[in-house]
Amino acid sequence: MSDPGLSHHTPGHHTLGHPGLAAAPVDVDALTLMLGDHVLLDRATLRLERGEVLAITGGAGSGKTALLGALAGQPVPGVDVAGTAGVDGRRLLIAQGGRLAPRRPLALQVAEVVGHHLGVDLRAALRRVADGLDRMGVPPAARRFDLPPEQLPDSLRWACLFAMAIAIGPALLLADAPCAGLDPTVRLRLLHRLADWARAEGTALILAGRPEDGLAGPADRALSLRRGRLVPSGPDGEPQRDAEPAPPGHPLEVPGTVRLRAHGVGVSYPLAPAPNGERRQLTVLHAVDLDLRNGETLALLGETGSAKATLVRALLCLPPPTTGLVAWMGRDLTAAATTTSGSDDPDPAGLRRARRDLQPLFPDPAASLDPAMTVGAQFAIVLESLRPDIAADRRAHRIAEALEEAGLRAETAARWPTALTAAEAAHVGLARALLSEPRVLIGDEPAATLSADERAGFLDTLLAARDRRHLSLILATERMEEGLRDAHRGLVLLMGRVVESADAATLRTAPLHPYSRAMLAAARGDRPDLAGDAPSALNQPAGCPLRRRCPKARPFCAQAMPPLEEVAPGHRVACHYWDMPDNGDA
């Protein structure tokens, strides 16, 4: 392997000032990384002790991957390295994406890597990895070593990667964007366990990722990589905030009367019939009730499989829910939407009127734009359909207004959707939603494709539009803190059921359901108190869907799904034992 001359460890040289200390596993001095004439990292100095956990955060393209590559002795092609990056002992790099050879059985790959480093055979390697999986908290029943990694769930793949690293026991472990794409509660649980192991075994651990990934939580120290400098960052991973955001709740005015009401909304899909010919269906949303008042902002909180996206679609009647009803200003939309699925609308005005008032924000704004039309052309179609009262020659003016309200220039109307960046597409999506001057915006993670800065900008524009127009807003998100920051109320969804509903301040400070608490802990970078992964929608446990992960689970949880009960005015929880302490053995 090529050695660019930076991985030589020079014992004693940098430790002259600390004669009593053993050599630190990582000792970086004046490390400079250049990509062409662009400086990724400028003369950085970094020292990491044994058992120290460091988080390095930075936006996309800030040079995290190049830095980890230099520390691992595998410089990224095209990046020039100067300075010294001394590492004492064995080092492992878990590369971005966490991919293994997709088609080889995991056991072979594990044995290959562990055997390469430790010189043991397949059996011994697997035993060591099994010990590592114990440390990562993976139950023995979930271990499928004979499968190729692409047939394993992502969380198990990451756990296996960490277990492989644990089995080898390097002096320095580098993880690039670890557990990206996993649910926050699962991600933080794995990262905390990895950090615990590193501290206990004296391995130096560096976690690199984006600021919003919550890597600072498990770490002892967090650095932020910005404009070529490594600077200490605040507890949330952001580089020292200049100003606290305005305390939430106060600028929000008191909501008015109920406008949008959903009663018993459920969605199920037909499955292939069972072998005995019995019809089967998969219910993903179980009879959810929801009220939205005039001017109110409601956060739908939940992770993968919580059916928050399904609920959003059902509220918009795209398609209408299979059971229950959605009423807008007292008019039943579900009935209107089901009868108008044919081409001749019996009640075009009623449903169209509601569509004008209820506008969606899509999770992938770029895909929600027709690639064969300019932005302006498709906006004109929307106006023609929803605002027949605006004359054809006034449409261009209204489109320009909406684009400017969404923080774009009016010329954006002439552009093609494929030429827009992700952030521009998100703002165009907002402009389209505002086009018909709606009263309610219903968004399903509308900023999910954006980076942290773009995300903040988008949410600011959205909230400004909300305040200006006194809009009601429903926002689905898996980020608990962010979702509740500007909301009046929050609904926590788990496997298609509401498990807790309360006002935002209560949910931010004292949530009662174990799932809400875990989500809040994950959002803050703390250790979520849930074991294992979410069960598959096709294989849900009887009773409470959380019981196999829950710290409060007792035998009775398997027998009945807890009902949503009011525990305080305006605060409802669906848990049998919300007021009981955790189990001792959990």
Binding site: A60, G97, A180, L318, D370, S385, T449
Partner: protein, 270 residues
Amino acid sequence: MAGIDPQPLSHQALPPTPRPGFARGLSGAAVLAALALASAAAPLMADGATIRRIDADPVVAALLDGRGSLSFALLAGVLGGVIGVGWAVAANLLAGLVGDRVERRMMRGATRLAGLPLALLVPLAGGLSGSVGLLALATAFAAAPAVATLAHAELDALMRAEFLTAARAAGLPEHEVLRRHLIPNALRPLLAAGMLALPRALAAESFASLLGLGLPPALGSWGASVGLAARLGDPLALAPPALLLALALWAACAIADAGVAGPASRIGKP
């Protein structure tokens, strides 16, 4: 959901050309057009009155043959493309009217057929009937299943596109969604799928003619000339039609590949 960081270094490392297939498709189209023009102009090169292929210079004779091969390939290719695309569209329409089951069955049939050596039907049709119309039908049928499977996959992806949901959210009734969003977006992928039939038709016809069971000798065909030269053991007569046929096949494949290469072609639209 938090995605994986976009590769920060990939932007600089990758060349800015988004689609390498596109340039190849363009050159393929140019080559095919040049071949067609040269074949059309070949009678002018042959000396005067009637065209007697045996006496002519081998290159001119090969160009003369090109008229038969290319026009038949165009006819059968268009026919095959239309049958294949029609198959896929019909399957999708029936799915809306009757149910998904019919659609699945129709497309499974197309996949099965695409795995059979249908090209062998062409010499069979040529030998047993000898009529050009039947030969064209057989060629088109040999090319259609592959077209149908691709066209169906493209349509399937399009029907799930989010912008259709967005259009419904804007209150557009179904027929308007179809007219304004679905059809404009379906045209290009369907055309690209139909393009697949062209190289297949050309290859199937040449294969049949090579064995002496293709186009009648009066029409002329590259395959027939190659087959004749091979049987006579005349390398000088074999080379020109073989090279032209190879070139035409390469060009037709390049065009088809460029069409299939992906939706990035929409970027530079006026």
